[in-house]
């Protein structure tokens, strides 16, 4: 079960925003109780007493009211200044969290999936994956955000606020997870037909586990070990799959769709549309338009004898 709530912070930034929210919430609640209470009191007091005559309130009443309106207005201004200062300090704190990141990841928005590139000075250590971002706990991760088509927005509420992915613009966002867990996120800027199914997961693991994951991911796809797998790989390489998808270690080098080198390791398919189980994968491969109507992946007719080997091959990509 993944965590997906601004009320359940799992990182320093989200926790800071949550504290800030509590201040706003209590102030708002107090103001609502006082002002709403005044209206309620007036409502009860004036209930069923029809005014008959028209009269100007007396001078002393007017003065009292003027004082009261003035004092309330000043109080409003003071409260707003308090809130504003708190917002500015929180904003400053959030910005300074991102000063020295331990890890940099490029996240590129696509209709309707997330491309994830782990940066490294050593090119052999850069890694491409999709829709799931593994991060080490307790480390600052800087996300470089941009988009290849329309505007998307990166938002994992348990870790930090959101930031837009805008074509031709570069944005950054720092996230950090205190403890291991799976944190769900979803595109927050309307981006077309499948905006509802543009989901991502941030998987926070202890640094050692993360390094192991990284090492494994850097390896190319495993070679097929039997005839059925070889058959499956040939189907994959001979069908149009290769024009869009990459499987490292093969001749499939397409970059339009998500990298599938280790697809079987991922928890979901179709950017969170379906759980990654053999049954769902089979439905997905034969007709992606059914589960995610409008998706840019076309329905490709695959010969009945080829479907099973292809699925077995995809499930072997661990």
């Amino acid at each position: 079960m993944s965590v997906h709530s601004a009320f359940a912070p799992a990182g320093a930034q989200a926790a800071r925003i949550y504290e800030h929210w509590l201040l706003y919430w209590y102030v708002a609640l107090a103001v609502y109780v006082i002002v709403g209470g005044a209206f309620l009191y007036l409502l009860i007091r004036s209930w069923r007493s029809r005014p008959e005559s028209i009269a100007e309130p007396t001078q002393p009443v007017q003065h009292r009211m003027a004082k009261y309106v003035g004092a309330s207005s000043v109080a409003t201004a003071l409260i707003l200044i308090l809130l504003l200062v708190s917002a500015a300090i929180t904003g400053h704190d959030l910005a300074s969290y991102g000063q020295k990141p331990n890890l940099q990841i490029n996240v590129i928005g696509h209709q309707w999936w997330w491309e994830v590139q782990y940066q490294n000075d050593d090119p052999s250590m850069t890694l491409m994956t999709a829709n799931e971002i593994h991060i080490p706990t307790g480390q600052k991760v800087l996300l470089n955000l941009t988009s290849s088509d329309v505007i998307h927005s990166f938002w994992v509420p348990s870790l930090n606020g959101k930031r837009d992915l805008i074509p031709s613009h570069q944005n950054t966002l720092t996230i950090e997870a205190d403890r291991p867990g799976v944190y769900r996120g979803q595109c927050a800027e309307f981006c077309g037909l499948q905006h509802a199914h543009m989901i991502l997961y941030v998987i926070a693991e202890p640094p050692s586990k993360f390094s192991a994951w990284m090492r494994h991911q850097l390896q190319p796809a495993p070679e097929p070990v039997d005839a059925k797998l070889r058959h499956g790989r040939d189907v994959f390489l001979n069908e149009p799959c290769v024009t869009c998808h990459t499987v490292r270690g093969t001749t499939a080098l397409g970059t339009v769709g998500p990298d599938l080198t280790h697809i079987a390791d991922r928890q979901t398919i179709g950017a969170g549309t379906l759980p990654n189980t053999p049954g769902h994968l089979s439905g997905w491969v034969t007709d992606p338009q059914r589960a995610k109507p409008g998706i840019l992946m076309p329905t490709i007719p695959i010969a009945p004898n080829d479907v099973q080997p292809l699925l077995v091959y995809l499930e072997s990509l661990r």
Binding site: F7, I17, L80, D149, V150, R163, A188, F190, H195, P293
Partner: protein, 640 residues
């Protein structure tokens, strides 16, 4: 202007004579052609209000369909393609075809009555504006019914709304509808401003203008500055889509963020364009309900103006997530919080008014007024939360924002509007609406509204983004969404009670008489419904609460010609009589001009240079509009 002091019988005789002369001059033409030629403000105002309520019904049905779809996770009731069209049409309809036009309708109907004149300053422009609005709305809905409903959201962010990602004509229809409705809004703005500034009753100095008139005056000023921004940007979008310009195309050096700046430079003031007349309604209703002068008239007027002015300084708070420099974001954050102060001042003045009165007439209008207080207060407070950049980054583009702006717009505008409806319909139709049904109507809307929109605050914090056509069961959003859908059903029921009450009361309602509420503004001194000329003798005003300070022998304006549509122009500051002014009569030309402009606008969506035909046709119809003609009875008319 003279004191009317001659002998009683001759006064009565003169009065009758003038009345029948005015009736003849101001009579609306008969027949179908006549129906299309009407330029009296009562009829145009009624048409605006009626048409806007039809669009409210359409927008409401769209909302209900969306709530049905979202009531359950992974629902297949609607396709994603249709859902995207629905939420775009819902937002577009409510903002462009309901909220602004219905307020304009009330302004057109009430302002000439409230300031004590016979019509708006430019009656033909008024008719033209109405036809532009109707054509824009019909155009958008014809598209929707032909599966060409806009589907990029009412904000139509580029590049999603650009030619590459929204092929077809859907977004073009949307963008051109904007042009129609904004031409209409600008026409209304110009005539309302001129009417308020120059056609007030003698003695109605600036500090005696009724608050509602102030509010629509500020609204008109805001329209004048905000609407050109959206017309410009929708025009640029159309050019990108039809003739291959690259204003918003990042791959050719355009910038998608430019659209957001231009859109929100209109879009945020738009919220206040809708909200400010809502507060004008409330200030009027509160005066009628307490039968006391509004406490702090000057403070309230200054608050309206300050809100209108500051409303232009906060558009960037819609864009915090686009990655602004911190200093820039802080400026707009501060501006967003500061605008709460003038609204706060208005709230305190309302409290002071009720407090010092101690008594209230608890009719349906008062119910809706209190509904406004309790709902809008919550919406204002969540608005302050959204003003904080860190908080905004969490809840921006989530259901929290959906909850916030429905609290602000339904609370701040629809509830006052409903109150205004119960308050002024007797004036417009001569019959009171049924009070029992009115209260049922109120409670259904109030409970239904809170049930629908309060849970959405929580959904936002729980991570539910806006504009999703479905959600998965394991998100846990199902329960609150279902609650919201149940609330929506109550709102729909409230709407049905409202329609039923209106239809019933128009046949069986109690006759209203001139002034059922003992209210203070001038319109309550004439008959219900008012004659086309509003007043036989234009009134004079000797106090801020015109009818409350009126004495039996107060002077009236006499000596205006009754054989032509003549009104008195007064000074801007003090409302001192200045000169006579002849208003144009009925004319078919506004309709013909609107048709010509519509041909150009619509044709340009398909073949851009066909705009030329529209321009030529418009030039021809304008020739007809402005053609000077000698009327045997009325002399040469001033054409405007």
């Amino acid at each position: 202007m003279t004191e009317a002091q001659p002998q009683p019988e001759s006064v009565a005789h003169l009065f009758e004579e003038e009345r029948s002369a005015l009736q003849k001059v101001w009579r609306n033409p008969r027949g179908l052609l006549g129906w299309f030629s009407v330029t009296t403000h009562q009829e145009i105002g009624r048409r605006y209000i009626f048409t806007a309520f039809l669009f409210l019904l359409a927008g409401g049905v769209e909302a209900m369909l969306m709530r049905l779809q979202l009531a359950r996770p992974d629902n297949h009731f609607l396709s994603n393609d249709f859902y995207d069209q629905l939420f775009t049409m819902h937002g577009t309809t409510m903002m462009f075809l309901f909220a602004v036009p219905v307020l304009e309708g009330f302004a057109i109907y009430l302002v000439p009555l409230m300031v004590g004149t016979r019509n708006v300053a430019f009656p033909r422009l008024n008719a033209f504006g109405y036809w532009m609005y109707v054509f824009g709305g019909i155009f958008l809905y014809i598209g929707f019914l032909c599966n060409t409903g806009a589907d990029a959201g009412w904000f139509a962010y580029t590049p999603l709304s650009g030619p590459q990602y929204s092929p077809g004509k859907r977004v073009d229809f949307w963008a051109q509808m904007i042009t129609f409705t904004e031409v209409s809004a600008l026409s209304v703005a110009v005539e309302i401003m001129t009417t308020v500034l120059r056609l007030r009753a003698p003695g109605m100095s600036l500090n005696r203008i009724p608050i509602f008139v102030w509010s629509v005056f500020v609204q008109a000023l805001m329209i004048l500055f905000a609407m050109p921004a959206i017309m410009l940007s929708s025009g640029m979008l159309l050019c990108d889509r039809t003739i291959g310009t690259h204003y918003f195309n990042p791959s050719e050096g355009g910038d998608p963020l430019l659209w957001q700046h231009l859109f929100w430079f209109f879009g945020h003031p738009e919220v206040y364009i809708i909200f400010i007349p809502g507060t004008g309604f409330v200030s009027t209703l509160i005066t009628a309900a307490t039968r006391r002068p509004l406490f702090g008239y000057t403070a309230v007027v200054l608050s309206l103006i300050a809100t209108g002015f500051m409303g232009f300084g906060l558009w960037v708070h819609h864009m915090f997530a686009t990655g602004l420099p911190q200093l820039g974001a802080s400026f707009f954050s501060a501006a967003t919080l500061v605008i709460a102060i003038p609204t706060g001042v208005q709230f305190f003045c309302w409290i002071a008014t009720i407090w010092s009165a101690g008594k209230l007439t608890m009719n349906t209008a008062t119910h809706f007024m209190f509904g406004f207080f309790f709902i809008f207060l919550a919406g204002g407070l969540t608005g302050v939360m959204l003003g904080s950049v860190p908080l905004d980054l969490q809840v921006h583009d989530t259901y929290f924002v959906v909850a916030h702006f429905h609290y602000v717009l339904i609370g701040g505008m629809v509830f006052p509007l409903m109150g205004a409806f119960y308050h002024w319909i007797p004036k417009m139709t001569g019959r009171l609406l049924n009070e029992t049904a009115g209260k049922v109507n109120f409670w259904l809307l109030f409970v239904g509204f809170n049930l629908t929109f309060f849970p959405m605050h929580l959904l936002g914090f729980y991570g539910m983004p806006r504009r999703v056509y479905t959600y998965q069961a394991d998100t846990g959003w199902g329960g609150l969404s279902e609650l919201a859908s149940i609330g929506a059903a109550l709102i729909a029921l409230g709407g049905l009670v409202f329609i039923g009450n209106y239809l019933w009361s128009m046949r069986h309602g109690i006759p209203a008489g001139n002034d059922p509420w003992g209210s203070d503004t001038l319109e309550w001194s004439t008959t219900s419904p008012p004659p086309n000329y509003n007043y036989v003798h234009l009134p004079t005003v000797s106090g801020r609460y015109a009818l409350w300070s009126r004495l039996p022998d107060d002077p009236v304006v006499t000596g205006l010609h009754t054989d032509r549509r003549e009104v008195l122009v007064t000074g801007i500051l003090d409302g001192q009589p200045d000169h006579r002014y002849i208003l144009p009569g009925s004319s078919i030309w506004p309709l013909l001009t609107a048709i010509a402009v519509a041909i150009g606008f619509i044709a340009s969506v398909f073949v851009f240079h066909d705009l030329t035909y529209g321009i030529i046709l418009t030039a021809l119809t304008l020739l007809g509009w402005f053609w000077p003609r000698r009327d045997p009875r009325h002399g040469v008319k001033d054409q405007s």
